[in-house]
Symmetry: C2
Subunit: 157 residues, 2 copies
Amino acid sequence: MALHKKFMSHAIRLSITKMVEGKGGPFGAVVVKNGKIIAEGFNKVTSTNDPSAHAEVVAIRNACKKLKSFQLTGCEIYTSCEPCPMCLGAIYWARPDRVYFANTREDAANIGFDDQFIYEEINRSIQKRKFKMKQFMRKEAMRAFDLWKKKGDKVGY
Amino acid sequence: MALHKKFMSHAIRLSITKMVEGKGGPFGAVVVKNGKIIAEGFNKVTSTNDPSAHAEVVAIRNACKKLKSFQLTGCEIYTSCEPCPMCLGAIYWARPDRVYFANTREDAANIGFDDQFIYEEINRSIQKRKFKMKQFMRKEAMRAFDLWKKKGDKVGY
């Protein structure tokens, strides 16, 4: 439990110090492997003009770079807030063993962030979403998928 | 309609050529503003060891860099496949006007990608997910949110 608290405290510390420095929103995260922090991340959306630069995505990118792998097998992520759908998606693609979080999506909504709204939208069918999406040219695009199926030297992920 | 087709054809072309070159999965995307392609993206997960480097996220990052903004107001995204939850989340945070897509999440599942599985998982409560997540230290983490609320010079997003 002491180690758990140490890792989460590190993530929380990032969420405070980097936000105070003006890097972005109040969110921090660390990636742990074999009982050690191997990478950290904090929100830098507004300071780097990258809407995908949430704490978890940044921490995942840094950890993958360090491990020279696109998978985080055997790793755990500690994040100061429940991941938004983008970050949760990134976590599923990176496949760590487990995630620990502190604040919730409702807490994030209460200070003006869209996490809860995006969760609601993603759960709706495309027709019922507020955000407009339209499908066309599937036939042409399927060629890429057919070629992928047949590709002999593909690297799956 | 001719312009729409031109933009989507560009995204589809990326999904084929870059995949054949071994950059990653069969996915491409472009960001359009004022009737012109301002940025493109293709999947480069396996070639750059970045699980977040899906076509849409890469295109969004490139477009934001070009516009020097963390918002894509007035932009449209054309993607060769329905965005996965990570990419859809990134799209909500970037706030373009609209998204056009060609292949579907079911098409992606049929060639071995986890998009549909991740959509199902995200829709479940944390307790019912296959992937394990655990909450603790909310009280300590809330300090960051309290400070954010009071921060006078914050940049919202």
